[in-house]
């Protein structure tokens, strides 16, 4: 395992720090000793094929899953040691964009965006909520879709609304789970541009989980390749794909052919 780049980082600058992370389901070892650090203001992309443990990793970071072993520190707090109240306080500072967008299908776009805001900041006036929703929707270029239902939106538009819902709480860390999965190349590029743009606007750190090389290359300041629960290599895109490893080469060639 060549992930020395992941350890030579000043921990004071880190917003996420993971050490010796293990997770298994029944007899399947999904994460097998993961170590990495996400720096403040950095975009870090984790590449890997389906079933390599990417989504499990991101779910452990937000406390949706508990690790079997290891330390997960997010914004200075060990996630698996937090109680419900502390975890909720942390989750406001960590945004999560789902692969499926996970929009509330009984609510329209406005309600989807207003919901996390009104539930977490109960003293906000209707006008303040409305302004925040419009502002965030404008930043993802969907202001005209305010009162549409999720079922009336295209896949790309749903992704954008999902990202807008994440942004409305003004997170310090943004976690993207397969942001370009299931999208055509043009829409994928739009989402990639959006990820870079919102990162700049919000001055936040991003962790992007993807199997899409183009997405990882264009969004990640650093990338890491996850294979069978372990990082094969981490560094810049060039460093990682310059490595002579059959899995990395195979992944590159597969994506290239695709």
């Amino acid at each position: 395992m060549e992930n020395t780049e992941l350890h030579t980082i000043n921990k004071d600058e880190s917003v996420i720090s993971i050490t010796g992370l293990y997770k298994s389901f029944d007899d399947v070892q999904v994460l097998d000793g993961i170590d990495f650090t996400l720096l403040k203001g950095e975009n870090f992309a984790i590449l890997g094929k389906s079933g390599s443990g990417k989504s499990v990793l991101i779910k452990i970071i937000v406390g949706l899953l508990k690790p079997d072993k290891g330390e997960v520190i997010v914004l200075g707090q060990q996630v698996d040691k937090l109680n419900r109240k502390e975890l909720d306080a942390l989750r406001i500072r960590v945004g999560f964009s789902f692969q499926s967008s996970a929009l509330y299908d009984s609510m329209n776009v406005y309600q989807n965006l207003a919901f996390p805001l009104t539930m977490n900041y109960r003293d906000l006036s209707k006008k303040e909520v409305g302004n925040a929703v419009e502002e965030v929707l404008e930043s993802v270029g969907l202001k005209e879709k305010l009162y549409q239902m999720p079922s009336d939106l295209s896949g790309g538009q749903r992704k954008r609304v999902g990202i807008a819902r994440m942004l409305i709480l003004k997170p310090e860390i943004m976690l993207f789970d397969e942001p370009t999965a299931g999208l055509d190349p043009i829409t994928s590029n739009e989402i990639i541009e959006l990820i870079n743009e919102v990162k700049k606007q919000n001055n936040a750190s991003s962790l992007i989980i993807t199997h899409d090389l183009t997405c990882a290359k264009n969004t990640g300041d650093r990338i890491a390749m996850l294979f069978e629960g372990k990082f094969l290599k981490a560094g810049t895109f060039k460093d990682v794909f310059a490595m002579d490893n059959e899995h990395i080469k195979g992944f590159y060639n597969y994506n290239f052919i695709q």
Partner: protein, 264 residues
């Protein structure tokens, strides 16, 4: 030998799973009581859910309540006629509807209509990661989805049961009136003459228990749904089957306890 060992292993796993399921269901119910009395109470969502449940079940309860009252009266008349006791018909209907039919018919309709709806809705939210989306937005989904729905069914189903009883008695009156010239006042006086406070209290208590059962079973099944759309269908189906099964058990227990109190 291997085959026999495999069977033993499967049997043992089955027993383990059954105990695990029961323990999970108890923990789920305990969590409801833990969360129900904590702020925030999401009163608006509880109100919305009450409205939703009422609207969903009202037409069917209106029809069923009226028809049950009418048919039950029609079927009882020949037996009472044999003993020349048709004048007891209003009393008999009053006892049957208030003590048993109103609450039970409402519960069975709501188990099918409301319980399956809750199971399917939460199941669908679960498999499409909407529940996880609430979690990561620092919203307690258990409190927002489960506590509100269970509270709403616990409040609304007794009200619907009362309405169903009223319509059942109305149906009975229509049938009695079509044969005998009896005023509604006399019918009501006769119908309520044999009803005691314990009957009304036990019926109301039963409806509350049924409402809670329908809500908690629907939510439990939906909240724990897996396997995509197939799992959603299963959750809805299991919510109905288990609710009805538990309602019948509760009916037997409550009737037995009420009878002990009555004759004590």
């Amino acid at each position: 030998m291997d085959n026999s060992n495999n069977k033993k292993l499967l049997f043992s796993k089955g027993i383990d799973n059954a105990f695990i399921s029961v323990s999970k269901a108890f923990r789920f119910t305990a969590l409801f009581f833990k969360e129900a009395f904590k702020r925030p109470f999401h009163l608006r969502e509880i109100f919305n859910q009450c409205f939703e449940i009422g609207i969903k079940a009202l037409p069917l309860i209106t029809l069923t309540g009226f028809v049950v009252g009418m048919v039950f009266t029609k079927q009882s008349r020949p037996s009472l006629e044999e003993f020349g006791a048709t004048s007891w018909l209003p009393s008999l209907m009053g006892i049957a509807i208030v003590r048993a039919l109103g609450a039970l018919v409402t519960a069975l309709i709501c188990a099918g209509k409301v319980g399956s709806g809750i199971g399917a809705e939460l199941g669908s939210m679960n498999v499409t990661e909407q529940i996880d989306a609430m979690e990561v937005s620092a919203i307690n989904p258990f409190k927002y989805l489960v506590v509100t729905r269970v509270t709403a069914t616990t409040i609304t189903i007794p009200v619907l049961a009362l309405y169903c009883s009223f319509l059942g008695l109305l149906g009975a009156y229509v049938n009695v009136h079509s044969v005998e010239a009896i005023s509604i006042v006399t019918f009501c006086q006769n119908a309520f003459s044999s009803i005691r406070f314990l009957d009304i209290f036990s019926s109301l208590f039963k409806s509350i228990v049924y409402g809670f059962t329908i809500g908690i079973v629907g939510c439990y099944m939906g909240y724990n749904a897996t396997q995509g759309t197939r799992g959603v269908g299963k959750a809805a189906n299991r919510a109905v089957v288990l609710s009805i099964f538990l309602i019948f058990i509760e009916e037997i227990v409550i009737v037995q306890v009420t009878n002990w109190i009555r004759y004590f």
